[in-house]
Amino acid sequence: MNNGLDAPYPTLTRLTQLSFRLSRAIMCLAVLPAIACLAASVAMAQGPAPVTNLQSADHPWDGGDNADLTWEVSADDATLVESYFIYKAMMQKGPIPADLLTESERKYALVDVVPAGTTEYTVGSVPGSGYVRLKDLSDEQRALFDPNDLPDKPHKKITVELGYLFKIVAVGSDGSQSVETITAAPYSPTRQWFDAKRMYLLIITIIFGGSVVFFIQHARAGKDLKIRKIGGLAAVDEAVGRATEMGRSCMFIPGILDMNDIQTIAGMTVLSRVAKTAAEYDAKVEVPTCRSLVMTSARETVQAAYLSAGRPDAYNADFIYYVTDEQFGYVAYLQGNMVREKPAACFYMGAFYAESLILAETGNSIGAIQIAGTAMPAQLPFFVAACDYTLIGEEFFAASAYLSGEPEQLGSLKGQDVGKIIVGIGIIVGVTIATLAAWFVDTGFLTTWSEYIKGVILT
């Protein structure tokens, strides 16, 4: 996919090219009065000299949502000019018919206002190159514009689908405007294979992912790894045992999100353990789900668990069923079921929202052993308060490693520790720089660093 400016349209036949041009011509006719209008307004003010040699170029290493502009300052830059107004206009992609090279009839939108002396600018999504909003302008500046040109909402982002023209107007301190300078050819951005904005993230990802993989390999080599005891998982046997002794069921609730949520997957790993224990104890484990796909996966998980426990005959698919996709409908069902059937053990493993406390409190009132695990920070306090055991965020994801006891899985936890070290170093460096920058305000480089961390690394 070559989006170069001069590239012909290989797929377009001559006919379509013709019709294309025709339509352009018709459009041109329609906007003629507007051109006249604008030309008049320009002629009215005797402003500073315009900028020259305005060029638009592709911004490297991006997703095609930026454009780099360069220009030479106005001759009056040092004297008259206070700022440059940068405008952008969207248009069809491709070469522009010769007769439309000066398309001042296009709908230009103000992108930014830069101070005199500036010679380059990146239009796009990079911080600092955002679009100007009406409220950001001073009253004088605002007077220069038709409010309709500056809608108080973000302009459309640059995309590879369209072409763009840019213009710059030098504005004097008295409000006088120069003649506009327009880019010679429409600019069509291109997408690159790599997004430079995500460079730091990529580095961190590679270090982190690499260390996880490294430790997994390391563990495969047979190195013994220790893991802290996680009470909530150790208690699975106890909870299932309680249900068995009391002749009640175990209820497993895999959260309210679908299988594409990692929390639901983590929940499934715990379910596999719960089901295996239940199979060994010959207890009943009930899994009402809120998504059909979760039901299907849960069935697979439970069946495999029963098989590995050597009791395939005890598996009953009817205990894993679908209730409803509706959050509160699901909660209503669960609550009713809990109050009627009084399960002796309740497991909440997955993504939860407002229903967390409703479920956990109901479970508590019926005297069930409750074990919860979620990575929803807002719901954690509720689970902690109402459940016997709670797997807090990270522990929840460590569950599968913990339960399997396989060295390679435990290795991944070690890899996670590397991640923590990176974060720890990052926090210490960041906090130190930010603190110093706040103390020595005049030391520019500290502020720059701190801005760089905030603006580039952390986005």
Binding site: D313, A314, Y315, N316, A317, D318
Partner: protein, 375 residues
């Protein structure tokens, strides 16, 4: 502290040996008093109630256990064959009925509406008891078994593995001090009781299994060899049920130790005779030692005087075997029986005896550490 010594192992040329052959549960005795029985002859048999097979219908057909009663198609006591429908669900409005076909044959023992379980009892298992001892039935215990008596040559081992087996005696070792190696075992020893001398090696046992020997008798065995044969480290000396392929009898103990000459000579004298061997050992209250029983032919019975076994008292002049380090395995005679306890090298006080060893040396040994050589 009445008898703080191990009663010795019997190694006798001729003894009237009695053996009790009892069914685990009451059954039918097939021989009558006075009958002559052969070692491998069945003397009593019975049928054990068959294995029970629980079938959890509630799970298999996904229904509450309380429904099981209505859904089972058979009644308690009825027979069921493999593939025959055992139960059918009620279905949804009479449709989608599920049928469970039995995977086992047997009779329905119970149907439970609490557990949802049906118990099928399989075919009765025949249990037979063989005579083991070629001899005469001296007593019939109705419905239980028989007592069999015969004049035999009798050798008790100290330790064995494997159950009862039968075969003719064949010597593999030339002397009681020769170790039993794999190359000494030849294919013609199939079905035989192989007699070695001193330590039996692990690969010799392997070879014996390979050639299909009935039993191996040797003086000693190394702990690690035993571990290799069994596949695990033996913790408690209760054996007899191992399925290693051969019955093994050790006459002296663990380590490099030669078979007692007397034992070796006795076995050597009976080469070619038919012997019954049992490796079952149980070292607990009611001790059981492995044994080699060689029935005597009638001429032999006449020829030899039955050995007179006394109660086995420690007396000066009696042959004893020392059964603990530092003199383990040595044989000597009682030279003195001091009555006062003495302080041992270990610092404990115990009753001791003086033993005159074959070398002429006299050593002091705690009474607990000697064993009478009987017979």
């Amino acid at each position: 502290m009445g008898n703080a010594y191990t009663p010795g192992l019997k190694v006798v040329n001729r003894i009237t040996h009695q053996c009790r052959r009892i069914l685990p549960i009451p059954g039918k005795v097939l021989v009558s008093k006075g009958d002559h029985v052969e070692a491998e002859q069945v003397v009593a048999q019975t049928f054990m109630p068959g294995d029970i097979m629980p079938v959890n219908l509630a799970n298999l057909l996904s229904m509450p256990p309380s429904d099981v009663m209505e859904c089972v198609l058979k009644k308690v006591g009825e027979r069921i064959e493999v593939g025959e429908p055992l139960a059918q669900t009620k279905g949804i409005f009479g449709m989608f009925k599920q049928v469970y076909k039995s995977k086992d044959a047997g009779t329905i023992e119970t149907i439970s509406d609490v557990t949802g379980q049906v118990i099928i009892r399989g075919e009765p298992i025949p249990v037979e008891v063989r005579a083991y001892l070629t001899g005469t039935v001296t007593e019939v215990i109705p419905e239980q078994g028989v007592m069999i008596e015969a004049d035999v040559s009798f050798v008790q081992g100290i330790f064995g593995i494997g159950g009862e087996s039968f075969g003719t005696i064949k010597m593999a070792a030339a002397s009681h001090e020769q170790e039993l190696q794999a190359d000494m075992i030849t294919p013609d020893m199939k079905g035989c009781v192989i007699v070695g001398g001193a330590r039996v090696w692990h690969d010799a046992v392997r070879k014996a299994i390979e050639v299909g020997a009935a039993a191996v008798v040797a003086g000693g065995i190394d702990d690690q060899d035993l571990k290799k044969i069994l596949g695990y480290d033996l913790g408690v000396a209760i054996t007899g049920t191992e399925k290693v392929g051969v019955t093994l009898v050790i006459t002296e103990g663990f380590g490099d130790i030669a078979m007692a000459e007397r034992t070796f000579d006795l076995l050597k004298a009976r080469v070619g005779d038919f012997a019954a061997v049992n490796g079952a050992t149980q070292i607990r209250a009611g001790v059981m030692r492995p044994e080699i029983v060689i029935p005597l032919s009638e001429e032999e019975v006449k020829a030899e005087e039955p050995a007179k076994l006394d109660g086995g008292m420690l007396e000066t002049g009696r042959p004893v075997r020392i059964i603990r380090d530092p003199y383990f395995g040595l044989i000597g005679t009682v030279a003195g029986l001091p009555s006062e306890p003495q302080v041992l090298g270990s610092g404990s006080k115990a009753r001791v005896l003086d033993v005159k060893l074959g070398s002429g040396e006299t050593v002091v040994i705690p009474r607990a550490n000697v064993e009478l050589i009987e017979g």
